[in-house]
Symmetry: C2
Subunit: 344 residues, 2 copies
């Protein structure tokens, strides 16, 4: 019998604006292998995924599922290692690395049905949270299924250096598109331009109005925008919508500019639906979960891309379990480039 001291971050207070340490409390419990039931394992967490959707679940609104319950461990994807295993489990063994959804705790009991086995000889373990994980799923299928990019089309990506954006931009390049990335610092746009080889980049912080961003976009893409993959929303999105072509496809993957204060009481922005009309454009919201069952298809195509270095990716790694709430907050100030992860 093993017993572990288990620290957990409890989501304890609903945020009204940005989420940070004030909305969490740290709790220490213990976890014993005597609790293991059939087909269960004890995991030791190693890498925690930090994702903007966490803030949507903290809204009091009915979102894509019930709001995250208060006074429970903050949910989230984790890469961990199996420490103990119920004798009934055949497919896994102690020492295996797995992806699980066991949230912000140092140890967790997990049903094996919810685990994906990882092979760290094939690709780094953190890729299961980013370039070959949930962000990849919504990037790969959102761009291709909804966007249907054709060679020569112009694709604009907001939040282009984020976990999802960096993947979308590169798949769009692979598909032969003219790709413009929007991000919030010179460091980020340098990464987009020099490493990801995008055709154009915009540091939106250098512009103060929708109109100025629109004009810069017009300079970079005088032929107009065929596909807009939006992670950000707000006035950046307004500026891109002003540039869309007939039959444009707009993929709504995120609206991070709205998550801190615009969920419960929406911000105001210019009405634009009349443009959807005369441009016969389409807007569609996508969530990674809708493509869960197509993950094998993605891994088959994208794993070699990662192994061969055809896909670049950045990760921002924060150390220390105690920093999880602080790290989540970083997302809403754009402090990460690429996938944001906490390592313990």
């Amino acid at each position: 019998m093993n017993t572990y001291t288990n620290r957990q971050w409890i989501y304890s207070k609903r945020p009204e604006n940005v989420v940070d340490e004030r909305h969490y409390s740290l709790q220490t419990t213990s976890l014993s292998t005597t609790e293991l039931k059939e087909n269960q394992v004890v995991l030791k967490s190693k890498y925690f995924s930090l994702d903007p959707y966490m803030r949507i679940q903290q809204s009091a609104l009915e979102t894509w599922e019930r709001p995250h319950p208060l006074d429970t461990v903050q949910g989230g994807a984790v890469v961990g290692q199996i420490q103990d295993i119920h004798p009934s489990c055949r497919e896994f063994e102690v020492g295996d690395w797995v992806l699980s959804y066991t949230g912000w705790q140092e140890y967790a009991i997990a049903d094996v049905s919810g685990l994906r086995k990882l092979n760290r000889d094939e690709v780094p373990l953190t890729t299961a949270l980013g370039i070959l994980g949930m962000p990849a799923r919504v990037a790969y299928f959102g761009l291709q299924d909804v966007g249907q990019p054709k060679p020569g089309e112009t694709v604009v990506v907001s939040g282009a250096s984020g976990a999802v954006g960096q993947i979308v931009t590169q798949i769009a390049k692979i598909k032969g598109c003219h790709v413009i990335g929007i991000a919030g610092s010179d460091e980020k746009t340098k990464y987009l331009k020099e490493t990801l080889q995008l055709d154009g980049v915009i540091n939106y912080k250098k512009f103060t109005t929708q109109k100025e961003i629109h004009l810069e976009l017009k300079r970079l893409a005088p032929q107009g925008v065929d596909i807009y993959y939006d992670n950000v929303g707000g006035y950046i999105t307004d500026a891109v919508i002003d540039s869309i072509n007939t039959y444009a496809r707009i993929i709504i993957c995120g609206q991070i500019s709205q998550y801190s204060d615009g969920l419960d009481t929406p911000n105001l922005g210019p009405r634009f639906l009349h443009k959807m009309l005369y441009k016969r454009a389409k807007i569609q919201g996508v969530l990674a979960r809708d493509y869960n069952n197509r993950m094998p298809e993605l891994l088959e195509e994208m794993t070699p891309w990662v192994q061969q270095g055809l896909l670049h990716y950045k990760e921002t790694i924060v150390n220390g379990f105690e920093n999880l709430p602080k790290a989540l907050n970083m997302l809403f100030y754009g402090k990460n480039t690429g996938k944001l992860i906490v390592e313990v």
Copy 2:
């Protein structure tokens, strides 16, 4: 040789708000059959179609085509009768009734390639402008291709008693949907309820805020909205978007609330794209012209519906060529029920 005195309404000034007589001038010219070239006819106009899209074309913005040129005859669909015919025309003869796009003039020279022959023994001539014309096209294909209604789903239609709305609501009923119509007077909602047999109606003028309309919608459709067919935009649309279900489809056919002052300088409204995200909803703009080549399919299915009285329709007929600009203005104050037509 015949010569006709021909009055024409010239679009002479770009409106900044609502369009009315100030933006037109009446011109009298003459038209002689000596002008007829190969495959051309002289038409005498009988019924003029008044449509909200005319106002979009008058915006200075790049819309779905170039803005309507100033100092030209106002474009538009017309039902007319052939008066004279070039001997080269084989498919038509004098006296034939046709649908043409010759605009606001009493007589017109038209190429036969742009004419659709009408049979007034089959259905009334005015149906070619409404229930079996352009509004039907965008209603029939917009609802079915984009909306894909399934029996038991809830369909909300704004501008429900307008030329397009009255068709959409009835097709949705035929498809087995729970249909709620929004319109702007008790007379209109009575028509929707009693004649079109809708499941629920809302006179939006009885409510003053988005929230109140949302609550009324919630009362009428506690199960939420699966399809929203929007002819109106503005705060009515905000209220419906607050009620959408997962995988909702929103068809943007019109945004008439925005045409008078919101095209050039957009009105402000609440940002809602984050809802598209967590509801995985789709918004798509549709124009009748995109379905022009599928008109035979529509006529084959819908003509019997009209002949058998399965589809009801209203028309608002204004008499007198001189009233065309005034009649166009009526659209933007909701003074028509069903298709708005000027008869001469």
